[in-house]
């Protein structure tokens, strides 16, 4: 029997499905790709449901979407504690054991990560207009995410954080000192991100470069190298202005968000 491949996450789906069981992307719409190769993150239809492990996630709303997770016994998700919108009373909460508490505090990262355990329902949402981006992560895959951009991760993901290399990248990169890193172990995991505005993804070939406004950076495969590119401009009597952009070098995926705070001009 023919199966439908999801253009976003490449998962195989039953032919009667209209949305991907793994990431929720519409299966009856083609990927929307710009002339230069940026793919729009799929707009999840209101009430779209998809599965992870023995649990399900339903996306509600379109302007500030809510991710409602129906957790099965034995499944759990972790998230920054301030994104929890509501939960059923019987859903137990615990704190994720995150190493490097002092460094996280210095880096402006949340030092409390909450874990919700099944069975029961919990709903998560962010505080601004945007899109929920669903990234199924295959075993042994690594993905780096801008700090505060992640909405939830499933229990099969290992969470750590990596320091952004290079003082210039930290000071002028606009992405903070650290990035969240998510790695899967033996079984696939699911990562939900919230991008402000609209989200676009481009797959860079080996050695291919793109310059990205640092505030617009959302995520990248760990194989993509990120460096700060300095642009200096003479401004006559006012002297020189320096602008910093993030130079991404492939291979791998890069995700950007269209609403951001500009960083890096002096």
């Amino acid at each position: 029997m023919d199966r439908i491949e999801c253009q976003w996450c490449k998962a195989q789906n039953e032919p009667e499905r209209t949305s991907c069981t793994t990431c929720g992307a519409p299966l009856d719409q083609r990927n929307v790709v710009s002339d230069s190769g940026w793919t729009e993150a799929p707009r999840l239809r209101d009430m779209t449901e998809f599965k992870f492990s023995s649990s399900t996630c339903q996306i509600e709303g379109e302007i500030v979407p809510v991710a409602e997770l129906a957790l099965a016994q034995g499944d759990s998700v972790f998230f920054e504690h301030h994104v929890m919108l509501w939960k059923e009373p019987q859903v137990p909460l615990s704190a994720l054991n995150v190493p490097g508490g002092a460094r996280r505090m210095i880096g402006g990262m949340p030092h409390i990560m909450s874990v919700a355990h099944g069975p029961g329902r919990v709903a998560l949402s962010k505080d601004a207009t945007g899109e929920v981006v669903v990234l199924p992560i295959h075993p042994s895959h690594e993905i780096d995410v801008r700090e505060h951009a992640f909405l939830a991760g499933t229990h099969s993901l290992n969470y750590s954080f990596v320091r952004i290399k290079g003082l210039a990248n930290v000071l002028h990169g606009g992405s903070g000192m650290y990035m969240d890193r998510f790695v899967t172990g033996g079984e696939p995991g699911l990562l939900l991100l919230h991008g402000y505005g609209n989200v676009f993804q481009k797959t860079l070939q080996p050695g291919e470069k793109i310059l990205v406004e640092p505030g617009g950076f959302l995520y990248k495969d760990s194989s993509v190298q990120m460096n700060t590119a300095q642009q200096r401009f003479k401004t006559g009597m006012l002297g020189t202005h320096t602008m910093y952009l993030a130079e991404m070098t492939g291979p791998g995926r890069v995700g950007v968000q269209s609403m951001y705070v500009h960083h890096g001009t002096e």
Partner: protein, 294 residues
């Protein structure tokens, strides 16, 4: 001589009508214009991935909440924009600084100090930093419009850019303090197409509505709602004092409305999201204004 098959009701430029979007402004061509009974036309959102053609280059609009304008620049074309709206660029695109005068005055007025130019070949993407609509205003040769500050996103390099005092202000007195208010900002941007047609992209929060005012026709709008107007449209303040039953709602106290009067002829555009002007204290002085006591 053949006549064009289609004239866009929004930008009024002709095209052959073969596509589903206007090649000059990106407005859909296969939907009926939505006009309210009072004459406001709703600016339709540019469809995802619609292309706008200018000179030898194209602009593709993508996204719904905070749309991105992705330019495919020909080597002979260039654009300019405020530096903070740049989202991504290919390394082949040449970025440079645009020469601008009166930097100190611009800083005082809260306007962007740094304007950048980008020259082809290559792709470059621009996006604003708040939800709303991005729309194109193609400018015929030698045509100029006045745009409220911070609405400008990007323009082609043959569009001249100046800024002038808005001329709309009032002074309030609250106790012993006097305060100046500029409901449109201290300055307005003026864009004029020079030597040939140009393209201007604006971004406004909420929804956008446009309207043609006839000669002498007036309309009152919230000052914070104006996006752009033709140069021929005059504007001045209008203070309205409703009849109050009690002393604290009386006409000379704080129960007043501050309007911007727009007087035709010409075209105006407003946005549905706006800030109310400051109304604390009595009005001591103002730019040219009319007053109505009810």
């Amino acid at each position: 001589m053949s006549t064009p098959a289609y004239t866009c009701p929004y930008c009024r430029l002709p095209s052959d009508g073969s596509g589903t979007t206007c090649p000059s402004c990106g407005a859909p061509t296969d939907v009926r214009a939505r006009v309210t009974k009072s004459g406001w036309a709703e600016q339709p959102p540019i469809r995802d991935m619609a292309r706008i053609h200018f000179s030898r280059s194209t602009c593709q609009i993508s996204g719904k909440y905070v749309p991105v304008a992705e330019m495919k620049l020909d080597p002979s074309d260039s654009i300019y924009f405020s530096h903070h709206v740049l989202l991504h660029a290919e390394p082949s695109v040449r970025l440079d600084m645009m020469k601008m005068g009166s930097g100190w005055n611009r800083r005082l007025a809260g306007m962007p100090l740094i304007m950048m130019t980008a020259s082809g070949p290559g792709h470059i993407a621009i996006s604003a930093d708040h939800p709303g609509e991005t729309f194109a205003v193609p400018l015929p040769a030698n045509h100029a419009i006045d745009v409220v500050e911070h609405r400008f996103l990007v323009a082609t390099s043959n569009v001249g850019y100046h800024w002038e005092n808005s001329g709309i202000w009032y002074v309030t007195r609250n106790g012993d303090e006097q305060e100046y208010h500029y409901p449109l900002g201290q300055t307005m941007d003026r864009f004029s197409a020079q030597g040939g047609p140009g393209l201007l992209l604006l971004h406004a929060p909420g929804n956008t509505f446009i309207r043609d005012l006839q000669q002498g026709e007036r309309i009152l709008i919230q000052p914070g709602g104006l996006i752009w107007k033709d140069r021929s449209v005059r504007m001045f303040l209008h203070f309205e004092y409703p009849r109050g039953q009690y002393w604290f709602s009386s006409a000379r106290w704080q129960a007043k409305a501050i309007w911007l009067t727009l007087q035709g002829p010409g075209r105006v555009a407003v946005q549905s999201v706006f800030e109310q002007p400051e109304t604390v204290g009595g009005i001591l002085n103002s730019s040219g204004a009319t007053t109505q006591y009810w």
